[in-house]
Amino acid sequence: MRLRQGQFSFLPDLTDDDIRTQAQYAIDNGWAVSVEYTDDPHPRNSYWEMWGHPMFDNPDAAAVVFEVNECRKEHGGKYIRVLAFDATAGWESIRMSFIVNRPAEEPGFRVVRQEVDGRSVRYTIESYAVREPEGQRYA
């Protein structure tokens, strides 16, 4: 499977130049760009590991591409995403999110059904990868 989170996951993988133009769009809007990685891609895993703080005072998207590549050196077998944070009153949350790195194999998720009263079912989505401990989940 292909993890479809983020705003560009139905497009071909982004090149470094693509990452730069998108990060520059965020910077030009006054948003702080951040790099995060994880080996637990559950759709409700809000807290991927931070590759440093959001880059609050960085005017140049080349620095974002640099950090993405530094992150890849250590976590190239995991998911890496780029986020943009908007501190404007009334928003104060994420404006952009896109995946820039994937594991070579994406085993995906299984649906666990607990059949309960009547015909009701309690559903759980579980990543196949998280059956292994952290750090051993992808090749």
């Binding site: 499977m1 993890l3 479809r4 989170q5 705003q7 560009f8 996951s9 139905f10 497009l11 071909p12 693509d18 133009t21 998108q22 769009y25 891609p41 559950h42 759709p43 409700r44 809000s46 986020l83 943009a84 009153a89 009334g90 928003w91 104060e92 949350s93 994420i94 404006r95 952009m96 999110s97 896109f98 995906g108 998720f109 299984r110 649906v111 015909r119 009701s120 079912v121 309690r122 559903y123 989505i125 990543s127």
Partner: protein, 487 residues
Amino acid sequence: MKDDAKTVTDAKKRYSAGVMKYAQMGYWEPDYEPKDTDIIALFRITPQDGVDEIEAAAAVAGESSTATWTVVWTDRLTACDKYRAKAYRVDPVPNSPGEFFAYIAYDLDLFEPGSIANLTASIIGNVFGFKPLKALRLEDMRLSTAYVKTFQGPATGIVVERERLNAYGRPLLGATVKPKLGLSGRNYGRVVYEALKGGLDFTKDDENINSQPFMHWRDRFLYCMEAVNRASAATGEVKGTYLNVTAATMEEMYERAEFAKSLGSVIIMIDLVIGYTAIQSMAKWARANDMILHLHRAGHSTYTRQRSHGVSFRVIAKWMRLSGVDHLHAGTVVGKLEGDPATTKGYYDIFREEYNPMALENGIFFDQDWASLNKMMPVASGGIHAGQMHQLLTYLGEDVVLQFGGGTIGHPHGIEAGATANRVALESMVFARNAGRDIWNEGEDILRDAAKTCTPLKQALDTWKDVTFDYASTDAPDFAPTPEVSA
């Protein structure tokens, strides 16, 4: 000013039994300066032949506040000057002989806090059937901060909805399941599964899918949630389907909403026809149960569409933001349903902005501060398809749900292909916009390029390339982009 439009100030004359003009009774005050706490209504009035517009405006003020048809002495037991609504300005409508804009101010104490039912009972109560008027339309309202703060506002709001869905930086995508009537629960869930797996964020029940012989509501909910969870596992995304809980009684709606919650749905849906009080009740329930609340505006065109009579949709939008729904349909500009670009922009601004400055060219007559009420997500649906993506993104922006019903399910290679075509078109257009391309002029090229690596998009573009809905609008702003009438 004509003498018969002046307030009679001699108390003995003012309160002697009999009939008196509304303007003389004190409902016309041309010198009145609205207070910051006042609620202001702007009506389009069309007086009967021979009825003076000032008297007509005063009559509207009177009939929507304290007046009855004759003088009553019991007024004198009250602070009646305060409770009388005050018409304070009447302007001719540009290019519309016989029509006038009447501005009427209402004291805050005329209204129960936090009740749309109470507000509407006054503002659109008896007065719309008033004989001296040929027609009456409520065009806009200024809701004072003091009044706005008595409402909950959207249960979830755009920002938190995005956080819950883990979906940022692009419009959300949806589709209404079709055919809207007749599918069994099992077949219905198939459409949901295919569409969500293909790339949509949401699918949607239609407004009249409740609990009919061909599919009772529990069956629908159970099959839909199986589909939602399967699609979520297939894509790694949070998915939702608007489970319509509209029913005959509040008790039944709560029962359906509770069942949706127990199955793990992120969103439920109601129809406008359930009424203002029921909408507010469901909004409170949604806030208390972490549920996104979608409102389908079923029925609104019966009173929003004609320019001379009824209630403008921009007023309905304001009432719904107060009431506390998270999603509301607001037009597509380019699709099959009513809506010109300027008017639709006005609606979208009411949904999504913290503050609306007066913008006559968009039909917005007042500055409106939303006082930190959550933002509502506009929903665009009705006759839109992937080939219009550059127009949709330009007109409607990023915080919107684009719903392609026929444009997903009608895809020649199936529902999943239709969904993928829409998602790829969307992502490629957002990407191009962010990269600095002129999507308005280059949109078709951008889509063609994206279709080179996405066969479903190519098929969609080929199928619907010539489909447009280019009809004159029945409800456009009265003022040109450079307004000649100052305010």
